[in-house]
Amino acid sequence: MKGPIPEIPAPIWRNFKDLQEWELLHKTRPVDDKHSVLFESVTEGIHSFPGGFVVTTAADAFLNWARKSSVWPVTFGLACCAIEMMATFCSRFDVERLGMVPWASPRHSDLMIVSGTVTIKMAPMLLRIYEQMPDPKWAVSMGSCANSGGPFRHGYHVVKGVDRVIPVDVYVPGCPPPPESLLNGLLLLQEQIKHFKRTGQRAAPNEKVD
């Protein structure tokens, strides 16, 4: 018996054609995300007791609190927003207060802040780095270039927004967004992680929305 799927709040941009599919992808549970047999039997056992859900949701809250308070961003700077991201990582707008240690390798990090313009030559690299990050992982699109191509949207070599390459959780507007608005985006991400599903539910990016 699987727990109830949380209702994702209705976003304002739901009428855009591309993003409907993306949202659909986000809501459907990946069929191949199975769990170890031992865990399934243990949770079945707990749920059979009256009030069993309380135990699992409490465990969820604890796990999500742990995930939320130590999200490690991979230092993935592309363009001008990377300089503002560096300013956010430094001592004046310190992200280490939020438990975020800027880490160089995607193998040890949970969050990818796409700061800068994603070009067609860079997109496969960006996808490879995102795939090489261990699950559960999140993506923050920083700056209007990553959100929608920004001032270079009509360039032939520019991908019109990073959500055509990887699923994005939080969009931070601005060109470049000042560190305060990036911090606001990261806090929004931490809010989102709080409602994280029990078993680390994250839509596997198996097919990209084009």
């Binding site: 067609i120 030559k121 997109a123 009509h154 360039g155 032939y156 070599h157 991908v159 019109k160 055509r164 390459v165 990209k208 084009d210």
Partner: protein, 150 residues
Amino acid sequence: MSPDDARSAIGARFSGAEVGTGTPLMVTVAPGHWAELAGFAKETLGCCFFSFLTAVDWKEQGLEVVAKVDNLDDGLAVMMKTRLGPGVSTCASLTPIYRGANWMERECWDMFGIRFDGHPDLRRILLEDTWEGHPLLKSYAVDTPHPPYR
């Protein structure tokens, strides 16, 4: 080497070249003398600082290659130009003379489709090798959609 005796030296050497006035000395030569002019500028005029090399697409009149070299000691700047003629897209390479021209000529091939013969390895520098078309030509639309990321 002040600008006016540089102008007279160029005039003497290249009869067909029009030499303009003004701070960067504009020298327009036929495509045949292109490498020769660059060698001349480097040896006799002493312009051994290679500033940049680019191309301009004049639609019907064809492509034009522009290069700028400076003489740092006397402050002399020479802007060399050659009109490749309509439909022609090959030009002599300056890489044997100025090593700085290597990347700039690869960019001109990438953006304008000008083949520089004599260039050690002419391949695309800014776009991927599988990219078709040369974007900075006037015939190339700005927002040409390229799968898979429209």
